[in-house]
Symmetry: C2
C-alpha cells in the first residue's frame, strides 16, 4: 500500500466558465484507520453536473464546496483496511469519497459507506444507473412526471446518465419517449441502443422555431412530461408543445450554471397549459432510494436498463473530464478510473 | 317586462391593448321561455381578468369568445319567467348569463343555473367571495400552496376579489400573509380591513431590486407560498425570496394578457429552491367547488371573509369598467349593476 494519497482540491472559484486552473492536484500522507474507521481505495470517481453549482460561492443546490478542500464526489471502491466490524478488507463499497485515490472514513456514521453486490451489477454502475443519476431519473420520472401509458415524455441530455435512464424507465411504463441530444451519434445511440421512439439533434436546430418544429414532428400528440436537464431554449421549445396538465421535472439547468441566468421566454404557458414545474434534488428524498434502487438494479441486472460510460484514466485527468462534461463532450456517464 | 334585451357583443379582437371599440352594444328581442326554459333578469354582471384571454383568437385558457356574440361572463339575477319545474319566479340564481340584461336558458342542463340562498350572503357575493373568484382563491391556496401554520404566503393583486380571499383563507390557516397591491389606499385596506400582516405597494418599487428588498423586509423568513395574479417583475422578485420547497399557484398573468410574453428572469431558481410552480383553471376542478363554497359561504356569513366591490352602473358601462379592471383601476371585485 502506498503511503501517499493524491487528491484534487478546489483551488479557486470560477467567474463564468470554469477552467483547469480552478483545481489543484496535491499529495497527502495516508494514515492507518483508527477505531471505527475504514480505508477505501477508490476505483472510480463520478463526475456530475451538480459539482459545477458547488464551485460557486452563492446560494445553489447546497453548501458551496470549500476552497482548498478535496472536491466532493461519489466514488466506488474496495476496502483495503478496516477497524470497523461491519466492513472487511475486500468489500466493495459506494460512498462520497471525493476526488482522491483513497478515503479514510468513520464508517459508523449511517449511510456514509454502503456495501454493494457486484455479482450481477458492475461496480461502476453504482455511480450511474444504479446510483445517484439513476435515482435522480427515477424520482423525477416517477414522482413528478408520473407518466401514464400512451403519454409522451421528452428528455433532454438524453444520452447522459440521467437522461438515458429517464427514457428507459418511461418506456417500461408504456410512454412514448423522445430524447433531445447533441449530435447524430448520440441520437442514434438513444434510439437504437436505449430504445427511445425518437431523438432530436439540437445542434441541427439553432433557433426556437426550428427546435419547436422538430418537437412537433416527433411529438404529434404534444408533450405530457418533460425531464429538464438543460434549460434555456430547449425548455422554451418544449413549453410551446406542452399539453394541458403536463409536468416538468426540473433536474438540471446546465445552460445556466456559469452564472448568467437564462430567462424562460413565455411563463404564461404554465397557466395557459396548466403545467406543473417542479425542481428537486434527489439527495433530499433518501426515503425513496431503496424503492428506486431496487427497480434500477433489477433492470440493469436483467439487461433492460442500458447505459454507456465515458471513462477518463487517472485522477490527474479528472478536471479536464469534468470541464468536458459541462460542455457535453461526454457520452453517457462520466467516470474517472483511478486504478 | 320589457320586450327588449340589451347585450354587449365582441365586435373585434384587440391587437395589443383592448379598447371600447372592441365591443358593441345591441338590442335584441326577448322571447318567452319555451319548455324547460327559464328567463332570468340579470342583476349583476361579473367582470374578470380571464375575459381578456377569451378576446384573443389563439390558444389561451379556453375557446376564444366568438365574434359578434354576447360576451361571456358570470351573472346573478332573479327568475322572471319559468317553464322549468325546478325554478320559480322570484328564485335568485347564479349562472353564466353573459354581458346582457336578460338570459333565456335551458335550465334542465345540469349546472347551467344554480339557485342561491341570500339569507346570510348578499346576492352579489355569489360572483365574488362565494363564487368563482373565491373558489379560485381557495383552490390555489388549499390545493397548491397548502400552507402550514407559521409559513409565509405572498399574494399579488391583494386587494382584488381573488387576492383578498387568498390572504384571508391563509390567515385562517395560521400563515403569515403579505399582500402586494398598487397604491397606498389599497395597501391600507389589505392590512387594516382584510387583516394581512403587511402589504407592499408595488408602485413604490419600480425595479426588481427595490421590490425584492421590500419583500425581504416584509418576509424576514422568506416566502413559502405565492399566489400569482400578475406575472412579470413581481414574480421575479418573489422568486428571489423563495424558500426551499416553496409553492407558486399560478392563477393569472395580467401583465402578459396583451400578447407580449413577459419572460421569467431566473428559472434556475425553480431548481435551486426546489420550487413547485403550478398553473390552474378553477373551472376544471368542479368536484371541489362544494367543499370550497361551503367554507367560503360560512366565512362570509359570519363576517370572517371580507371583500369590497367596485360597482359600475348600467350595461353600457361594462366595457369601460372592464378596461379599467385590466389596468388595476378597480378596488375589490368588479361588478356591473344592471338593475
Amino acid at each position: 500500500m502506498t503511503a501517499v494519497n493524491r487528491q484534487i482540491l478546489l483551488a479557486s472559484r470560477p467567474s463564468g466558465e470554469p477552467g483547469a486552473d480552478n483545481f489543484k492536484l496535491v499529495e497527502a500522507p495516508l494514515s492507518e484507520p483508527g477505531p471505527g474507521q475504514v480505508l477505501v481505495r477508490n476505483h472510480y470517481l463520478s463526475l456530475d453536473p451538480y459539482m459545477r453549482g458547488r464551485m460557486n460561492e452563492g446560494k445553489s443546490y447546497a453548501q458551496p464546496q470549500p476552497l482548498n478542500e478535496v472536491m466532493i464526489g461519489g466514488t466506488v471502491g474496495e476496502v483495503v483496511a478496516s477497524r470497523n466490524e461491519h466492513f472487511q478488507v475486500g468489500d466493495k463499497v459506494v460512498g462520497m469519497g471525493g476526488w482522491q485515490e483513497y478515503q479514510l472514513v468513520d464508517a459508523s456514521q449511517r449511510g456514509v459507506l454502503q456495501k454493494v453486490d457486484t455479482t450481477h451489477v458492475p461496480l461502476s454502475a453504482y455511480l450511474g444507473a444504479v446510483g445517484m443519476p439513476g435515482v435522480t431519473a427515477w424520482y423525477g420520472l416517477v414522482k413528478i412526471i408520473a407518466p401514464k401509458a400512451g403519454e409522451t415524455v421528452v428528455v433532454s441530455a438524453a444520452s447522459g446518465a440521467v437522461g438515458g435512464a429517464v427514457g428507459q424507465l418511461a418506456k417500461v411504463r408504456g410512454a412514448r419517449v423522445v430524447g433531445i441530444a447533441g449530435g447524430a451519434d448520440k441520437c442514434r445511440y438513444v434510439v437504437d441502443e436505449l430504445g427511445f421512439d425518437a431523438c432530436i439533434d439540437y445542434k441541427e436546430h439553432r433557433d426556437l422555431k426550428s427546435l419547436s418544429g422538430a418537437l412537433k414532428t416527433a411529438c404529434p400528440e404534444g408533450v405530457d412530461g418533460y425531464f429538464e436537464n438543460v434549460g434555456g431554449m430547449i425548455l422554451d421549445a418544449v413549453m410551446l408543445r406542452a399539453n394541458a396538465f403536463s409536468r416538468v421535472a426540473m433536474c438540471g439547468m446546465i445552460a445556466g450554471y456559469n452564472g448568467e441566468p437564462i430567462p424562460m421566454a413565455a411563463p404564461q404557458l404554465i397557466l395557459v397549459n396548466r403545467m406543473k414545474i417542479e425542481g428537486f434534488i434527489v439527495s433530499e428524498h433518501m426515503e425513496l432510494w431503496p424503492e428506486a434502487l431496487k427497480e434500477l438494479g433489477t433492470l440493469v441486472a436483467t439487461g433492460r436498463l442500458k447505459y454507456r460510460e465515458s471513462v477518463a484514466q487517472g485522477l490527474e485527468n479528472a478536471p479536464e473530464a469534468f470541464l468536458g462534461l459541462l460542455k457535453g463532450r461526454n457520452f453517457g456517464k462520466q467516470l474517472v478510473k483511478l486504478i
